[in-house]
Amino acid sequence: MLHTVNKSPFSHNNLESCLSFAKEKDAILLYEDGVLGAQAGSKLESIIKEALKKHTICALKEDLNARGISKTVGGIKVIGYPEFVDLVVEHKVVPWL
């Protein structure tokens, strides 16, 4: 399954909730304000690193660029819209809005 997270993990519990309901091997996509969670060195970095042991985590390049985020947590896969489409083709989607 693909879990899509569009809210900032600093202001909303969406990512936290997603991580507690996602099963091992599920993929997670951070997009819109959700990409703020991908920033390296934040107070959430350890949670993201822990999550990377169980999940593929992707972050949408276009949204990262819009917010000026260039340093992402190591292990996060930066993808574009075409790969976002591929993820949806490959997985059923659980949106965390």
Binding site: F84, V89, P95
Partner: protein, 118 residues
């Protein structure tokens, strides 16, 4: 693959409408078929024809209407539209106001459904 798109949030206020549009375009470019775009909740405001954003900004209503003109089926939920002041007089060209049943039919017919919203 046949992909259905559900849009739950209005234009401009949140990025959801932009993401839905960009995703839909990317899916088409990848050769997938869009089973339909269904506007529900505040999403119905995407179809407000009278929208006039600043000239240097994107016109979200116009953009959806053009996508509809290119053959993508756009459906606006009638109940949600009535609550928000959208009716046949002010709905964009190439979109149809219809019942929620259309959403179910779209979901059943598609291989995937993805929801964008706030």
């Amino acid at each position: 693959m046949k992909i259905a798109i559900l849009v739950l949030d209005g234009p401009y206020n949140h990025e959801a409408s932009d993401t839905a549009y960009n995703f839909t375009k990317a899916a088409i470019e990848k050769g997938h078929e869009i089973e339909g775009v269904f506007f529900y909740n505040d999403g119905v405001i995407n179809a407000a024809k009278l929208m006039e954003p600043p000239s240097d900004d994107r016109n979200i209503a116009k953009r959806w209407s053009e996508l509809g003109g290119s053959g993508v089926k756009l459906t606006v939920c009638i109940a949600a539209a009535k609550r928000r002041g959208i009716n046949d007089d002010v709905v964009i060209d190439n979109a149809k106001i219809a019942g929620l049943g259309q959403l179910v039919e779209m979901a059943v017919a598609a291989d995937r459904l993805i929801t964008f919203g706030d």
